[in-house]
């Protein structure tokens, strides 16, 4: 059975609409969490959907879940936007909370394999390593900002980010050989 994005790539207009229903909340939430205002968020969400539909033919469900692919395209676009506007994350940002994907709050996300695997990888990191990775990957803070914010030496910050992201990547990669990274049927 084809996924939504595969059907979008095949020119299925209903799939385009289904894509909005399925991923609208996710993309909107990701944009809002970046601190964009209402108007900017609406604009960028429109741009992201265009990008997503154009990129649909590149999606391969054997390599990533559709939700993870959507999040990657969204994230890429948001980062580009923030960089272009030379917005830097506030150094007052807190380390984000790691949500329990089984708590029912995530709706679409609780069945995303990558989220579960990334959660496991994060749980295995030392608290400081995890905090630094989250400040970098979630808030997009620069190495220097993280060093200033946490008091951790710059070189150590870089090491923590690298080590942490490699752990998450390895966790996802190891699953890639075991089973397709698709959303789990419930």
């Amino acid at each position: 059975m084809s996924t939504i994005l595969q059907r979008v790539a095949a020119g299925d207009g209903r799939a385009v609409q289904e894509c909005i229903d399925t991923y609208g909340g996710l993309i909107w939430s990701m944009a809002r969490k970046k601190g964009l205002g209402q108007q900017d968020s609406e604009d960028i969400v429109q741009e992201i959907f265009i990008e997503l539909w154009k990129s649909a033919e590149r999606f391969d469900p054997s390599q990533a879940s559709e939700t993870a692919f959507v999040a990657m395209i969204t994230r890429r676009r948001l980062i580009d936007r923030l960089r272009r506007e030379q917005r830097r994350p506030s150094t007052q940002m807190m380390v984000p909370e790691i949500h329990d994907v089984a708590d029912g709050e995530h709706e679409h996300l609780e069945n995303v394999v990558e989220v579960s695997l990334a959660g496991k990888a994060l749980a295995k990191l030392k608290p400081k390593e995890r905090d630094v990775l989250l400040l970098s990957a979630y808030h997009g803070m620069s190495h220097g900002q993280i060093a200033d914010h946490t008091g951790i030496p710059l070189g150590t910050v870089k090491t923590y980010i690298r080590r942490g992201l490699m752990r998450v990547k390895d966790m996802l990669d190891s699953n890639g050989g075991a089973a397709p990274l698709q959303e789990v049927e419930v």
Binding site: A9, M30, E57, L109, A118, G140
Partner: protein, 288 residues
């Protein structure tokens, strides 16, 4: 630099790219190093960073209903809502974990992508075309709102009156003369475009623009916004010219125009397009 050092640098850049993004210089550096090593961009770092973000995202918010409605119209313009049961087209090229989905440079210029110079503006070729210099074939992708037929015939007294009232009332009015290109439809064409950044409203006025048969072709306005990606000019609406005399057309920008940089009118297929081939540009008006 040793090969090991090169590979270390590639890894560092890929991780930076995945976490906080790369600037143009760093992107170029990564592309160069990857080419040097005969490697392609590894998206698995981006997927990992995305998974981390999802872990921390928390409850999802519902997007505004008005935005959803716009997206639906946008989606209809992208692919009409229709039954489709056929197989995937032959040209579908799926992504590969850890393989070349896109280079970082391509990520800022999705395929098929316009050729971009670092920090350059995609509307410069439009100006070259207007100057009769001729331009390379630049692709560009507008904000893909569905082409909207502006309401009512363009030449009506009420539109002219609305324009007059608008011009008198607007304190932040931008008034720009049209520059006609060498396109036959624009031969001898003139007029102006007025725009109020505060009101987000404006009007186009044309004289001498070729009367069009809506079944054959239509005119379409594009607005380049200095604060947005140059590849995504805002769709300003599709319109017709029904008389050889003066024509006044209200602008119907689909998105907030924060910093107008260039207004451009093209000739497109009936109903307008979501991606202009830029084959026929008829008039341009540049800010500043």
């Amino acid at each position: 630099m040793t090969r090991e050092a090169v590979r270390e640098q590639i890894l560092d850049l890929q991780i930076d790219h995945a976490t906080s993004g790369l600037g143009e210089t760093e992107r170029s550096r990564l592309d160069t190093l990857l080419a040097q090593e005969g490697e392609t961009h590894d998206t698995s770092f981006e997927l990992a960073a995305s998974a981390v973000e999802l872990v921390c995202l928390g409850p999802l918010e519902e997007m505004p209903a008005s935005l959803k409605a716009r997206l639906r119209r946008q989606g209809d313009a992208f692919v009409p809502r229709q039954e489709h049961t056929g197989p995937l087209p032959d040209n579908v090229t799926p992504m590969r974990r850890g393989s070349a989905v896109e280079t970082p440079a391509q990520q800022s210029a999705p395929q098929p992508a316009p050729e971009r110079t670092s920090g350059g503006s995609n509307w410069i070729p439009w100006l070259l075309a207007a100057a009769g210099i001729g331009a390379a074939v630049f692709g560009w992708r507008p904000i893909q709102e569905p082409p909207v037929q502006l309401e009512g015939p363009p030449v009506v007294a009420s539109v002219e009156q609305r324009r007059a009232v608008f011009v008198d009332a607007a304190s932040d009015l931008l008034s720009l003369p049209w520059t006609a290109t060498e396109d036959p439809a624009a031969s001898g064409a003139g007029g102006d475009v007025v725009w109020s950044p505060e009101r987000q409203q404006g009007f186009m006025r044309f004289t001498g623009l070729e009367v069009n048969d809506p079944g054959e072709f239509q005119y379409q306005l594009w607005i380049f916004d200095g604060t947005r990606d140059d590849r995504y000019p805002i769709d300003g609406g599709v319109f017709d010219v029904t008389t050889s005399g003066e024509v006044v057309v209200p602008i119907d920008a689909k998105l907030n125009v924060r910093q107008p940089a260039l207004f451009a009118v093209t000739i497109e297929a009936p109903g307008g397009v979501v991606v202009s081939g830029r084959d026929r540009i008829v008039t341009l008006a540049q800010v500043g």
